[in-house]
């Protein structure tokens, strides 16, 4: 994961020149405005169909952007990042079902718990490098899935489900689905903001230094394990919040969809498609991949070919555009680097 010399210079320039003006970049406001604009369309039109589609798009953006923090910025591929989505979903669901906790506090508790777990896992596991870390994250996902499968308070293999009457506390299932949508919009904005702030901060530079050469970063005074664990802990928060909201909306949680490794890989593909290590990349990647998947699934011509087409797309990216759409744009048109993170 080497960047070009020009990119490194740009990074250093950022490092020394603009630390104070973090929040003033028009790019950030533009990104936020675009997300908000899109999010408002179903609210204004009242279209529940658009709301459902945007819910999935925003969820894809959250998963891709959060995995980008550890994968794109730090260079550690977290294959099993979906584990936090599942943990967040399970903890929140458990609280809502058994203690009638409202979605918002339940999601927050779930997010903090998932981050806490990431901290505990990260301390030993992030001492590993490269493929060993990637393998360890798959192992963690599988281990947690097996644990939940046998953990009766979480419903074991049957999982847990709401009686539809639960939604009455939120003003009926119609309002509950809208609440879930507002929640996912908020989490998406939070994720993108965090991703941007990290990228533009000294902490982010530390992570990127680790990505380029961990030993050299250490010589410069960076404590790699501490940085990596912090990145991993932050990146675990957002999928957990998304999981809490998603399973609340679904009304049912089961181990297989909660800890679905394929969903993890899909978010890695979205990061690769958009451009890893950039802020906009995972957003574009998440949007494009999710729309592509839905288009293929619901298309009368391609419906049975969608998996094959997604595979070909991944091959094209790896072969021709390894830096992703945004990465390639930034590489080809250097002036864009000043505007697109």
């Amino acid at each position: 994961m080497k960047t070009t010399a020009t990119e490194s210079r740009a990074v250093v320039g950022t490092r020394f020149g603009e630390r104070i003006r973090l929040n003033l970049q028009p790019f950030y406001w533009l990104m936020l405005a675009l997300i908000l604009l899109a999010a408002f369309i179903p609210i204004v039109t009242g279209s529940s169909n658009l709301r459902e589609q945007l819910f999935l798009v925003l969820m894809a953006v959250i998963l891709a952007s959060s995995v980008n923090i550890i994968m794109g910025y730090t260079g550690y591929v977290s294959f099993g990042h979906i584990v936090f989505f599942g943990i967040g979903g399970y903890i929140a669901f458990f609280l809502m079902l058994n203690y009638q906790v409202h979605l918002v506090p339940a999601a927050l508790v779930a997010g903090i718990a998932a981050s806490g777990l990431a901290l505990l896992i990260g301390i030993p596991v992030l001492r590993l490098r490269g493929a060993y870390f990637a393998l360890a994250t798959i192992g963690i996902n599988e281990a947690v899935r097996s644990f939940v499968n046998n953990f009766e308070p979480f419903g074991g293999s049957v999982g847990m489900f709401f009686n539809v009457q639960v939604f009455e506390a939120y003003g009926g299932s119609r309002n509950a689905l809208w609440l879930a949508y507002y929640g996912i919009v908020a989490v998406a904005l939070l994720t993108v903001t965090a991703s941007y702030l990290i990228k533009r901060s000294k902490f982010g530079l530390g992570l990127m230094a680790i990505r380029e050469d961990q030993d050299a970063a250490q010589v410069l005074g960076i404590n790699p394990t501490r940085y990596k664990v912090a990145a991993y802990t932050i990146s675990a928060l957002f999928p957990a919040l998304a999981g809490a909201i998603f399973f609340f909306k679904n009304g049912i949680i089961e181990p297989a969809p909660a800890f679905n490794l394929t969903a993890s890989i899909v978010s890695l593909v979205a990061v690769m498609l958009g451009g890893f290590g950039t802020v906009a990349g995972p957003i574009i990647g998440g949007v494009v991949y999710d729309r592509l998947r839905e288009f293929l699934l619901t298309s009368s011509i391609f419906s049975s070919l969608h998996v094959a087409i997604a595979g070909v797309l991944l091959l094209l990216i790896v072969l021709f555009v390894p830096a992703g759409l945004i990465g390639e744009l930034r590489r080809r048109i250097p002036i864009l680097r000043r505007f697109i993170e």
Partner: protein, 430 residues
């Protein structure tokens, strides 16, 4: 061509894809065209998601085939007649849900709001049906669940969801009774089941039922969804030396388990597995299928008929068993399984409810479904009207089939239980 050119082409392709996608998403989706229209013909659309890919695709595909056959029959008959003489011409619209719950709610919302479907059929499997029910109930759409047998799903106070399958808790009870009838000396049962919502519900219910009947459940073990190597479980089974094995899960794992039990020559007298054995494709595992029993919602040899309906003082509706089987065979060149029959029955019962209510109004169709109590080729159907279990299947009963090797060396699927429905005596495995 240089590497640079390749990269440019690649980038071009990717951005083109992006533009096409945006354009495709912005374009209004075309509604399915009715097969025919006329002054007195009203088209309607029945929507659902199907597991065309993923682990449930075998069962789901049969369900669609059954539904497609029903659609053909209705179209041949000129539609469904309403009270005012209008003919309703149904069509179906479905999307792939990839056998996961992730997209089910979005697709059902799309079906309701964008495709403007009039009625809904559930996805295949209990987990997916639960997620779909949240959306269908919210929109007040009538949804018939077929391929979803979980009890708990239907104990939520649903108002417009109706279950066709006999609930999961009654899946293996008959197998326990059959075992006792075949040889009362066989007392040790091993229950090995897939760890998913449906199979675990069935296994838990079977465990309790077997114990209440004085059986010794020597092993109660779950395996993960997607398991392909059953050696550790087979070793445990062998160590517990049971007389009977019950359990399984869905088609793929059930077939593999049966095959590996045969390869390892596990000496049990009785094997009853969920979902897989009633599928005609199951017999492709050859001798490993011999003697395997499967609880089934329906079998081609069932004896429901207009005569049995009048004997039971019930109205009869739809094709006879023989007509359904021959039409299915003619169209698909294979025997129908219970998943296929469930698909046909879902359409048929909806048709009956529309006819009875004489209307397409959801509330009126719902009232007709509430009142429904009839016999079809699929069996006796009646839905619970109790507020807590509204829509749960009350009357339909299971049959138990067994693969038996005939004198000509060919395998035949025989109904072996209950006694009043059986086409052959059950055989113990040698």
């Amino acid at each position: 061509m240089s590497h640079k050119h390749f990269r440019m082409i690649g980038l071009g392709v990717l951005w083109s894809l992006l533009i096409i996608l945006v354009a495709a998403c912005a374009a209004p989706a075309s509604a399915p065209q009715p097969a025919q229209s006329g002054a007195s013909t009203k088209p309607i659309v029945i929507g659902f998601t199907a597991s065309q890919t993923g682990k449930l695709n075998v069962e789901s595909k049969k369900q669609i085939q059954g539904m497609q056959l029903w659609l053909d029959d209705v179209k041949k008959a000129g539609g469904i007649k309403l009270a005012d003489g209008t003919m309703v011409m149904p069509d179906i619209k479905f999307y792939d849900d990839e056998s996961t719950t992730e997209r089910v709610q979005a697709l059902y919302t799309k079906l309701i709001n964008e495709d403007n479907v009039d009625f809904l059929i559930s996805p295949y499997s209990s987990g997916l049906a639960k997620a779909a029910a949240v959306v269908s109930e919210q929109n007040g759409k009538v949804m018939l669940t077929t391929g979803a047998a979980d009890d708990a799903t239907m104990e939520q106070g649903f108002k417009s969801t109706y279950q066709l399958y006999t609930p999961a808790s009654r899946y293996l009870a008959g197998a326990v009774d059959l075992l006792g009838q075949m040889d009362p000396a066989l007392k040790k049962i091993a229950i090995v089941h897939e760890k998913d919502s449906f199979s675990t519900s069935v296994a838990n219910a079977a465990n309790e039922y077997a114990k209440s009947k004085g059986y010794d459940v020597v092993l109660f073990e779950g395996y993960d969804t997607g398991t392909t190597d059953f050696s550790p479980f087979i070793n445990k089974i062998t160590a517990a030396s049971p007389d009977a094995i019950m359990g399984g899960g869905h088609f793929q794992d059930g077939t593999t388990l049966a095959k590996q039990l045969y390869e390892k020559q596990v000496p049990v007298k009785f094997v009853a597995l969920l979902v897989a054995p009633p599928e005609p494709k199951f017999v492709e595992i050859g001798d490993a299928a011999n003697g395997i029993i499967g609880p089934s919602q329906w079998e081609p040899l069932v004896k429901y008929s207009p005569e049995s309906a009048s004997a039971a003082n019930l109205p009869w509706y739809g094709p006879t068993v023989a007509n359904f089987v021959s039409a299915y065979k003619a169209k698909y060149n294979e025997d129908p399984s219970y998943h296929a029959a469930g698909g046909y029955a879902a359409g048929l019962l909806l048709q009956k409810a529309i006819e009875d209510s004489g209307s397409l109004d959801a509330a009126k169709v719902q009232a007709a479904l509430d009142k429904m109590d009839l016999l079809t080729f699929y069996g006796h159907v009646k839905f619970s009207t109790d507020a807590k279990t509204h829509g749960k299947q009350d009357a339909h009963s299971m049959v138990y089939m067994q693969w038996q090797k005939g004198a000509d060396g060919k395998f035949v699927s025989q109904i072996v239980f209950p006694p009043e429905a059986k086409s052959a005596d059950a055989q113990l495995r040698k």
